[in-house]
């Protein structure tokens, strides 16, 4: 064509006009810390594995492997973890938190069904580490150390591995086949396992020539309190009772069982008592339901199973056929105060669930480890004062849960590896949390949460069958996709689609984006319309 001067122009000649010079601020893609991962005691990057799971199909295995990189027990977590991730989940501000725990369980169960394995690919370092205790902390540390190429020996006094996972948590919460399956996977990496082998002298153990030692002996002694009791009265502690049950014993508790305490162990004891044939199980607790440390979900399940609760009550005296209970009332400071009023409660036995203490007899007077308030003192790297000796799990101060122990195990493995190789430990960077307000939740469909169904009550009372079943694949996928991907791009293409200046470049599927600074005018629409809050405006230097 013969184009007349100035009246007619060629296509796209505006590209010569670099409108990026108009900017006073520019959008920058960012990845923030999601509140879920930030609150995970095991240190999982929850958002990342949910992202992988969202694809379904091969995404499940990819998501499982992402979890396994950090936590070797997803199926167990999916049953016993108290999911602080869900409490922190930003979706809770929209409708309900994402069912992260149920998705993790689904992935863990799927891995067991499919027989997915992990391998050790790191070359052998020649270092040898002794792990004292085959509970969650010890097994987690063993897992990570093996994957780093170290040789690991795990020594435990019990006849079977698992620690509190086996001996503290009843089967109706954590089926034995699940526990065995995940533990076996860890052991298959090459753990030298020494069961029925209590360690009574740390110095003697160290003298065997280990390059490092991890104290993961837990807190396995039920705390006892002085209770006036007739000699014939049956008083047991919950920890021993549950341990014995797991070891194959059948505790005789009678028809009416009272459990004294307000934590999860008390609830476990009461629900176990019911399953062992008690017609009545009563939890006696000196404060109120709102104040009790037991997790609400456990309490609700207990209530469904017919367990009674006596709030604001303390045991004065134990008789062979009952208890003398004193009623408390909350004082102005919120602490329970005795009222002097008493009542009788019929009970054939009392189970004390008043907390757990450590057994640190293996530490000699010159062990070099400091003990404070019954726990082993450690620094930020979980190292004790004794060189080469590390500690984690219930034996140290801090929250006592399987998840925390698993997290400790990973950190200890990193610390040991660092100490052995002379490198610095990995420091987690300061989290820059993705706030709910920075998200654009308009783009998320209303999607009520899927809850895991529960076993019918009739079956619950008589068997130790698992009470809470898992989600099927479709529902797990649905749940995973409820994630808002806080602070992390999930390739929704909004920025690319909504830029009026065509100044966002989409590079390759599934969609990575680059701002074309030649043309970006800094309007900020991309920031505002990013559902995940994964873009921020940064001032230009003018």
């Amino acid at each position: 064509m013969k184009l007349p001067y100035a009246v007619t122009l060629g296509p796209g000649s505006s590209l010569a006009d670099l409108t990026g010079t108009w900017r006073t601020e520019r959008p920058v893609y960012q990845t923030l810390t999601a509140p879920c991962g930030n609150s995970c005691p095991a240190g999982e990057d929850v958002r990342s594995w949910l992202y992988l799971a969202e694809s379904g199909g091969a995404g499940y295995e990819a998501a499982w492997r992402a979890i396994m990189d950090v936590n070797p027990f997803p199926a167990i977590m999916g049953r016993v973890c108290y999911h602080p991730c869900e409490t922190a989940c930003n979706r809770g501000n929209l409708d309900e938190a994402v069912g992260i725990n149920s998705v993790e369980r689904f992935l863990g169960d799927r891995a067991l069904e499919e027989g997915w394995q992990v391998e050790v690919s790191a070359p052998a370092t020649g270092k040898r580490v002794l792990v004292i205790g085959a509970g969650p902390a010890g097994l987690s540390a063993a897992y990570h150390l093996l994957r780093m190429g170290h040789a690991v020996t795990v020594r435990d006094s019990a006849a079977a591995v698992g620690g509190m996972m086996r001996y503290g948590i009843p089967a109706y919460r954590l089926p034995r086949d699940i526990l065995d399956g995940e533990v076996a996977r860890v052991l298959a990496l090459g753990v030298e396992l020494e069961l029925d082998t209590p360690v009574t002298d740390l110095d003697a153990a160290l003298a065997e020539g280990w390059d490092a030692v991890f104290l993961a002996v837990g807190a396995q002694l039920g705390r006892r309190t002085y209770l006036p009791a007739a000699s014939a009265a049956k008083v047991v502690d919950a920890v021993s009772m549950l341990h014995g049950l797991a070891a194959g014993e059948r505790p005789l508790l009678g028809r009416r069982v009272a459990v004294y305490g307000g934590g999860d162990t008390a609830i476990d004891a009461a629900r176990t008592a019911k399953r062992l044939g008690a017609s009545d199980a009563v939890v006696v607790y000196r404060r109120t339901r709102e104040r009790m440390p037991a997790h609400d979900d456990e309490v609700t399940q207990a209530e469904e199973e017919g367990i009674e609760f006596h709030w604001l009550s303390t045991i004065e005296r134990v008789e062979p056929d009952g208890l003398l209970i004193e009623q408390m009332e909350l004082g102005e400071d919120g602490f329970p105060q005795p009222t002097g009023r008493t009542e009788r409660l019929a009970a054939d036995s009392v189970v004390l669930a008043l907390g757990q203490d450590t057994d640190l007899s293996l530490l000699g007077p010159d062990s070099g480890c400091r003990v404070i308030d019954g726990t082993v003192d450690t620094n930020g790297s979980l190292a004790t004062a004794r060189a080469g000796v590390f500690a984690g799990g219930d034996v140290i101060a801090g929250e006592r849960s399987v998840t925390t122990a698993v997290g400790n195990g990973r950190r200890v493995a990193d610390s040991i590896d660092a100490w052995l190789s002379g490198r610095p430990t990995q420091r987690d960077p300061e989290p820059n949390l993705a706030q709910y307000e920075a998200l654009n939740t308009w783009y998320f469909e209303d999607a009520p949460r899927s809850h895991r169904p529960r076993l019918e009550l009739a079956r619950r009372s008589s068997t130790f069958d698992e009470v809470v079943t898992g989600l099927d694949a479709d529902t797990a996928l649905f749940e995973a996709r409820r994630c808002l991907s806080c602070g992390s791009c999930f390739s929704c293409d909004n920025c690319y689609a909504l830029c009026p200046d065509n100044a966002v470049l989409k590079i390759g599927p599934p969609g990575q984006y680059v701002i074309d600074l030649d043309y970006c005018k800094g309007c900020g629409i991309c920031v505002e319309e990013c559902p995940a809050g994964a873009i921020e405006m940064v001032p230009e230097e003018i």
Binding site: M1, K2, L3, P4, Y5, A6, V7, T8, L9, G10, P11, S13
Partner: protein, 399 residues
């Protein structure tokens, strides 16, 4: 082929022979028979393929032509007077974008007061819109100029206005040689646009041009229009050799050799003027007629040369520039050699017939010095009404 046919109808048939692909028209007297004729031809399938758009206004009509032409279609419309003004915004748009639209203007007076009869005020009011303006002196010439107009427009990538006197020509029934399809096809090649809307070669037509480039655009347009004078003459020559008759071109001199006085005019009065000149010559007066066919571009050099040696030129204006004098007359005055005395007269506004007697008297008055040079003379004015209305204006209103 010779036919006894109304001028409008002949124009319609001829336009159809030029194979326009899109016709858009809004009816206005006295153009209506042209667009009706075309409508019949399209409806009957005699003009095909052709899309006939029954538009909602003249502004819509020319706008549709702009869109059609820009898409690479040969396109045509027709209007008059008020209609021409209603599309005024689109006129320089069409010429500025370089679109070869052909439009018939059936010349009619501009209101207010509303007047549906013939003069040249409509076309001349748009003389600077960048279109070529050709004035037909007869229905035969009107027919011939339409064929030439399509060729010119497409050669130049400029729109062309073919002016023919409303009612006087459009509604006159006479013997006209309407060309045949074969000869028109031989004369007029298929439309090959300079630029057009094409998904395979996209361009942006109609950009905004600022102070930095506008002057150059206008300069080039001015040069282009002036250069068109050659094309107008060439196309007329090609027409003559193809169709066997002289028609169109820049000027139409008649018996101007050795003339003492020539009548200068445009349009249908040229026929009357030729009769008057024949009569004067018979009476021994050396009179002549200089017809101007191509008003835009203005044939400066040709007119200057044509008037050389002619002592008197009497310009018959069929429109005035209110508050400033005449239009055609001033143009002629600026172009004429200094030796030619130019007389400026107004005749035939709003459909008042220009008679043989009137023209003859005019020539005689000029020859006898009865017309003051330098003034604009309304020679067919009703002096009585004019005088009494002027007197009424002078009366002082009683408070």
């Amino acid at each position: 082929m010779l036919r006894q046919i109304e001028g409008s109808r002949a124009v319609a048939d001829t336009v159809a022979l030029c194979r326009p692909a899109v016709v858009a028209a809004y009816p206005i007297s006295p153009q209506t028979h042209i667009v009706e004729g075309l409508s019949d031809l399209v409806t009957a399938g005699d003009l095909a393929p052709c899309e006939y758009l029954l538009v909602e206004s003249e502004f819509g009509a020319l706008s549709a032509c702009i869109g059609a032409s820009a898409a690479g279609a040969r396109t045509y419309t027709a209007t008059s007077s008020q209609g021409l003004l209603f599309m005024a915004e689109a006129l320089p748009n069409a010429s500025g974008l370089g679109l070869p639209i052909v439009m018939t203007v059936a010349n009619r007076a501009l209101g207010a007061p509303i007047n549906i009869w013939n003069d040249h005020s409509d076309a001349l009011s748009q003389r600077d819109a960048g279109w070529l303006q050709l004035f037909a002196s007869s229905n035969q010439e009107a027919v011939d100029l339409h064929v030439q107009a399509f060729a010119l427009a497409e050669r130049l990538s400029l729109p062309v206005m073919v002016c023919m006197d409303g009612f006087v020509l459009t509604h006159a029934m006479e013997e006209i040689d309407v060309p045949d399809q074969e000869t028109v096809d031989a004369f007029l090649p298929a439309f090959a646009p300079r630029q057009w809307l094409d998904p395979d070669d996209p361009v942006t037509i109609g950009a905004m041009v600022g102070p930095g480039q506008f002057t150059e655009v206008k300069y080039l347009a001015a040069r282009h229009q002036l250069a068109a004078l050659d094309d107008v003459a060439e196309v007329a020559a090609e027409f003559e050799s193809t169709f066997g008759r002289a028609s169109g071109g820049l000027l139409q001199p008649y018996r101007t050799e050795d003339a003492e006085v020539v009548l200068v005019a445009m349009g249908s009065v040229l026929g009357t003027a030729a009769d008057v000149v024949d009569g004067l010559r018979d009476d021994g007066i050396a009179a002549g007629v200089l017809g101007i066919t191509c008003y835009r571009p203005w044939p400066h050099d040709e007119l200057h040369d044509a008037l050389r040696g002619i002592p008197r030129a009497v310009v018959v204006n069929r429109a005035i520039a209110v508050g400033a004098g005449s239009i055609l007359g001033r143009d002629v005055r600026l172009t004429a050699p200094p030796t030619t005395e130019v007389h400026d007269v107004v005749m035939g506004l709003g459909g008042r017939p220009v008679t043989r007697a009137g023209l003859r008297q005019l020539v005689l008055d000029v020859l006898h010095g009865r017309l003051e040079p330098g003034a604009l003379h309304f020679v067919d004015l009703d002096e009585t009404i004019a005088a009494s209305e002027l007197a009424r204006d002078e009366e002082v209103a009683v408070p």
